[in-house]
């Protein structure tokens, strides 16, 4: 490798590391993204002088970059804030697909008897890249609600997945040992795609961010493996950085949900759901619903109000309306704070992002550990489009799929106002006892409209 190129790759690697470092602190996160992007530009530019372009090659690269840049920019710019998790899944999947294709092209070039040190990383990249591609597409389809978000399970599923994995390992050995089998890696790729789909199908929508993070780490490893195939230092370092930090991040995300990674991947979240629980729960029990005027009065004459935002707030784009309500209340001397559950919404940090957009003062946003002891002093807790994160079943019923997940102690407040569109269960697909609590009042409707009604009711009170 040319010295100048090697040095440019080193600079790029340093920028990636600095970028990651900055990305892990709120103050510098946005700069971190720019730093990493600068590293990317340097790595790309440094690669070009090394290559011998055919005219066809140059043409397809230009066409490919233009198409990819358009798709990427438009996709990332147009997507609604609520749809960002699936967008990340999509961008991750295409990266995995690209890594697999690069490895396929290299294997084709090596011919029939590549050395082990080249064939092994290629095959690894094909398998992991394909799993990541197919798995990410399923994750995208689930979050985009192109297919059901609830786990898809069938008897013997683990066995089938196990056999698939075993077949892949067998193929890998065959390709490596008897490398003369032409195009056997195509079969390997197809098997890996099937495994990717089968692997994500049984995982519920609520666990998708963790799965996307895991597949992200997979893609990183596939990229690193392609780097070994191409003897490219930039690919190895950047891919490995992502593989390692992505693995740790996956663990941290599942910890934040109070679940082990194993139960996320193999536990079929929400399997014991809807059917039995929802029917049993709603039969013969009534919920109390309240008018905007009642609630306006209740809120206006409270001293402490805690707002618990959730996915419903994001869907209704009600972040400005909720801030308005908080301001009206504060004018009357009511103390308002927001309780942010680590996984409220459909990705960690979702609520912080939305509320920051609406200029909610940062000091009012309280993390779960910070605020959980204060619920008992709150006069009203206002739950806006959240559900599973306040479900007491996580504490009380060991059979529940969310048992053990840390929740907000909303049930300890003196009054509970549940703003929801309907009685539908939350994303985990289970019923919420809290709605039937005698202290609870339901206020049905779209979160944005309901909040606007409450604002005028508070003003009138």
């Amino acid at each position: 490798m040319n010295l100048a190129i090697a040095l440019a790759y080193l600079v790029a690697a340093v920028l990636f590391i600095l970028g990651l470092k900055q990305l892990s602190s709120p103050k510098s996160a946005r700069n971190g993204n720019f730093t990493a992007a600068a590293g990317m530009v340097i790595a790309l530019l440094a690669t070009l002088p090394l290559l011998h372009f055919t005219s066809t090659g140059a043409t397809i690269i230009v066409i490919g970059v233009v198409i990819g840049a358009l798709v990427g920019t438009i996709g990332a710019r147009m997507v609604k804030m609520t749809a960002i998790p699936q967008m990340v899944a999509l961008f991750n999947g295409v990266g995995g697909g690209a890594a697999a294709l690069v490895a396929v092209a290299e294997l084709l070039r090596f011919g029939e008897h590549p050395s082990f040190s080249l064939a092994f990383p290629s095959v690894f990249s094909i398998v992991i890249g394909s799993v990541s591609f197919a798995g990410s597409m399923v994750a995208f389809a689930k979050l985009q609600e192109l297919m059901t978000g609830t786990p898809i399970t069938y008897p013997g599923q683990q066995l089938v997945n196990g056999l698939l994995a075993a077949a892949i390992v067998g193929f890998v050995i065959a390709v490596l040992a008897i490398a003369s089998v032409p195009f056997s890696f195509i079969a390997l790729m197809l098997l890996a795609l099937v495994l990717g789909v089968a692997f994500v199908l049984p995982i519920g929508g609520a666990d998708m961010p963790v799965v996307i993070s895991l597949l992200n780490a997979f893609t990183g490893l596939a990229v690193a493996a392609s780097g070994f195939t191409l003897n490219n230092f930039a690919l190895i370092v950047a891919g490995t950085l992502v593989g390692a930090s992505g693995s740790l991040l996956t663990k941290m995300m599942s910890d934040a949900m109070g679940r082990s990674l194993v139960s996320v991947l193999f536990g079929a979240f929400g399997k014991v759901q809807a059917g039995a629980a929802a029917v049993a729960g709603q039969e013969g029990r009534s919920v109390r619903s309240a008018s905007a005027e009642d609630l306006g009065t209740l809120l206006a004459y409270s001293q402490r109000v805690i707002i618990v935002p959730g996915y419903g707030l994001a869907v209704a784009q009600a972040q400005h309306a909720v801030r308005e309500l908080a301001e009206v209340l504060e004018k009357r001397g009511v103390e308002v704070s927001y309780a942010i559950h680590p996984v409220a919404g459909r990705m960690p940090g979702h609520m912080n992002v939305l509320l920051a957009e609406a200029n909610v003062p940062y000091e009012q946003l309280k993390e779960m550990d910070e605020i959980n002891d204060e619920f008992k002093n709150a006069d009203v807790v206002l739950i806006v489009g959240a559900n599973d994160v306040v479900n007491p079943a996580a504490r009380t019923s060991p059979g529940s799929p969310i048992f053990g997940m840390p929740i907000l102690n909303a049930d300890q407040a003196k009054n509970i106002v549940f703003m929801k569109r309907s009685m539908r269960p939350g994303f985990a697909g289970i019923d919420n006892e809290l709605m039937f609590d005698p202290k609870t009042m339901m206020f049905f409707g779209d979160a944005k409209e309901s909040l606007t009604k409450l604002v005028s009711a508070v003003k009138a009170a």
């Binding site: 700069n31 710019r77 961008f91 084709l108």
Partner: protein, 106 residues
């Protein structure tokens, strides 16, 4: 094991440790932006895609090269742009001075 491979394995192992160390203190609210940022970084596969596409001559290689470049570019560009969109929501409450330091970061 030749020298080049030995070097590569060394980089690989060291990068594992750095990758773990560098993000070990990330707060929960940054989990998703960080995931998205690392997602953009593995778009470096675009370098690989360009390498294989550059010399493509057979129809199969041309097709693979083209698709690989499209997918990898989508990963890089979409990844960084979507991460920036998430993070610009945080800007309201941080000192504006942070904004200019990045241009000097090379």
């Amino acid at each position: 094991m030749n020298n080049e491979l030995l070097n590569e394995v060394t980089f690989f192992v060291l990068a594992i440790f750095i990758g773990i160390e560098v993000i070990s203190k990330v707060p929960t609210i940054l989990h998703t932006p960080l995931m998205s940022g690392t997602n953009a970084i593995h778009g470096i596969i675009l370098v690989g895609a360009i390498v294989i596409a550059a010399g493509a001559s057979t129809p199969v290689n041309i097709a693979i090269g083209l698709v690989a470049v499209i997918l990898a570019t989508t990963n890089v560009v979409g990844g960084f742009v979507v991460t920036d969109r998430m993070l610009e929501m945080f800007k309201g409450r941080q000192a504006p001075k942070a904004a200019e330091s990045k241009t000097t970061a090379k």
